[in-house]
Symmetry: C2
Subunit: 357 residues, 2 copies
């Protein structure tokens, strides 16, 4: 048993969650699962359907609807990088405590049809964000294009030059490269200063391309890639030094959207067991020899699970503790709510239990 049997840690923060439109069948099912995971602070994605969150008022209204579902969680809100966004709205966002603006390359993932084609038209907005200290959250993929040789396998690596250009143009802009999936992305984030960080999901710490190729529940964007890429992510978790922290990208899709007439919605659902998945993946990585058991220090876990993310966003420190216990629960085969059914990642496996202290 390379890890300890239990860990008493500060409550965690999950800096990339999809809670969907609220109230609604999926938001009602998944929002209460945040705390089940041992998490009390989340950074909420704005890519809602039928339309995304593009104004401060909409974000605050959405925040109130989420608070109604579970008032004990801190919801850090974001805006969708959209052509209607203005520098004034950025200043208003800053005053209202909106934490970031998420940029989706148009067509790259779920509800990205209103996204960014080029950052050029957003110059004034980005300059305002840099000045105000509003974070830029990047879905770091270029859209697939046969003409340009871009597929789901190299879409992230091909985005990295765009990241470099943004940093060169806006050197004081706080940037999160969301859900890093490649060694190249980890290397890039490490190569820039401390205001450029990366989030890492729970599922990318155990998945490879083979695991999603034949399993719709493991398919997401960005997709899981090679053993070398996975090893780089695991290394980033245990040697983060504040550059990488947890953002699960937990993406609930009704089972019908996963097993429809052929097309599969992209997204892996990890919300209620997020920390357990990470510990499982770390332990498996030790067994494979991808990382050393000496790397998995309690400091590394505390930092990756919450401290680093809270510090980056200026959120308050956790005031409660959670006890994680090996073998403490079995992952549900499916999670059913009123009008929604979601299959969680690694359904049926035994994972770590979570108790609030």
């Amino acid at each position: 048993m390379p890890l300890k049997d239990s860990y008493l840690l500060p409550a965690a923060a999950d800096m990339h969650v999809h809670l969907r439109n609220a109230p609604g069948p999926i938001s009602q099912l998944v929002t209460p699962m945040i705390r089940q995971a041992g998490v009390d602070c989340v950074f909420v994605m704005p890519n809602l359907a039928p339309r995304p969150i593009v104004t401060v008022d909409e974000a605050l209204e959405y925040q109130r609807r989420l608070q109604a579902l579970d008032p004990s969680v801190t919801y850090l809100m974001s805006l969708y990088m959209h052509e209607s966004l203005t520098p004034d709205e950025i200043r208003k966002a800053r005053k209202a405590g909106i934490a970031g603006v998420k940029a989706y390359p148009r067509g790259a993932t779920t509800n990205s049809q209103w996204g960014v084609v080029s950052f050029e038209p957003f110059h004034d907005v980005l300059a305002a964000m840099e000045q105000e200290g509003v974070v830029l959250n990047l879905h770091g993929e270029v859209p697939s294009s046969a003409a340009d040789g871009v597929t789901v396998m190299n879409a992230e690596a091909k985005f990295l030059p765009v990241l470099g250009e943004l940093i060169a143009k806006y050197p004081r802009l706080h940037i999160v490269l969301e859900h890093c999936t490649t060694a190249a992305a980890v290397d890039a984030v490490r190569s820039f200063g401390e205001i450029v960080v990366g989030t890492i999901t729970a599922h990318h710490l155990s998945l490879l391309v083979d695991d999603w190729s034949a399993n719709v529940n493991n398919y997401c964007k960005p997709s899981a890639k090679s053993p070398e890429d996975r090893q780089a992510l695991l290394d980033a978790v245990v040697r983060s030094n504040g550059k990488f922290f947890l953002g699960t990208d937990s993406a609930p899709h009704d089972i019908g959207a996963k097993k429809g007439k052929g097309n599969t919605a992209a997204g892996v659902f990890t919300q209620p067991y997020a920390l357990g998945y990470v510990l499982m993946a770390l332990e498996e990585a030790i067994q494979r020899g991808d990382i050393s058991e000496d790397d998995v220090t309690e400091d590394a876990l505390v930092g990756f699970f919450g401290t680093y993310g809270r510090r980056f966003y200026g959120a308050e420190a956790a005031d409660r503790k959670i006890l994680l216990t090996r073998g403490g629960q079995v992952i549900a085969q499916s999670l059913k709510g009123d009008g929604a059914e979601i299959v969680p990642f690694r359904a049926g496996e035994t994972t770590w239990g979570v108790e609030w202290q």
Copy 2:
């Protein structure tokens, strides 16, 4: 319209088909679809469940069962490269007209659990095949292995050194590298002499990794890869010079095996529309600029669709003609038989009609 509106060609040959155990719901549904495609000669895969075809007697018995389903097709039979195979059985196979022995790397694809771990123990069998002129059919992938950095994306490229070793050791052995999916495989086949050839499926001429990542009906082994790889396959079709010919790897799976509890059976079903898919892909490739319309000569089509494959296996030339007509039919949304339902590739699209002359 870069291609002609119709082609009058010799009946085609499909040198890689899965007809499953016969009689059975799937074999009864798909075997009569061979001729619907304009094909009258097929090379039949031996990877049946619950156990593969490992003896000459089993192969001949299987051939009779297929003939009972459609006596108008020529079934070229194969054995499964299995530890029970002997040089005597190879000599018996030659006398009985068995065309080849299919080697599956153990664990690489459907029903490969009895397959080859190393070719070393098969030395006597391979030497007998070389002497007797029995073809070696290779599923050219090494099994995925995180420890060795092998995934579905590079499993074929990593197999190519094994191909080189086999050719060096058995220089007179006739070899088919089945269902090439990479530029590397095409280059390798071209680099060896004329007794080393490759088959190319219909579906790999249009699919990329993005097309199967979110669509279970497009998922197969080997998986479709990058735009550069697809372009190399298209080039191999129109500049085959006898080195590449059609082997659809048409793999019928009941809809339940495609949309089950998460795990998806690997295989794309192309049998009834095989030639139409190829023509659709060639036309799309011309439109993208991947190939030139001058490349798609009638000679190239005649060779790829049948002449080259028949010549390689020593099968008789076609004595009937088929008329392929643009826009002649719509691909069924699903194909239902007694106890089986299969979703064909590109369901619902308009493809080329086939009429026997």
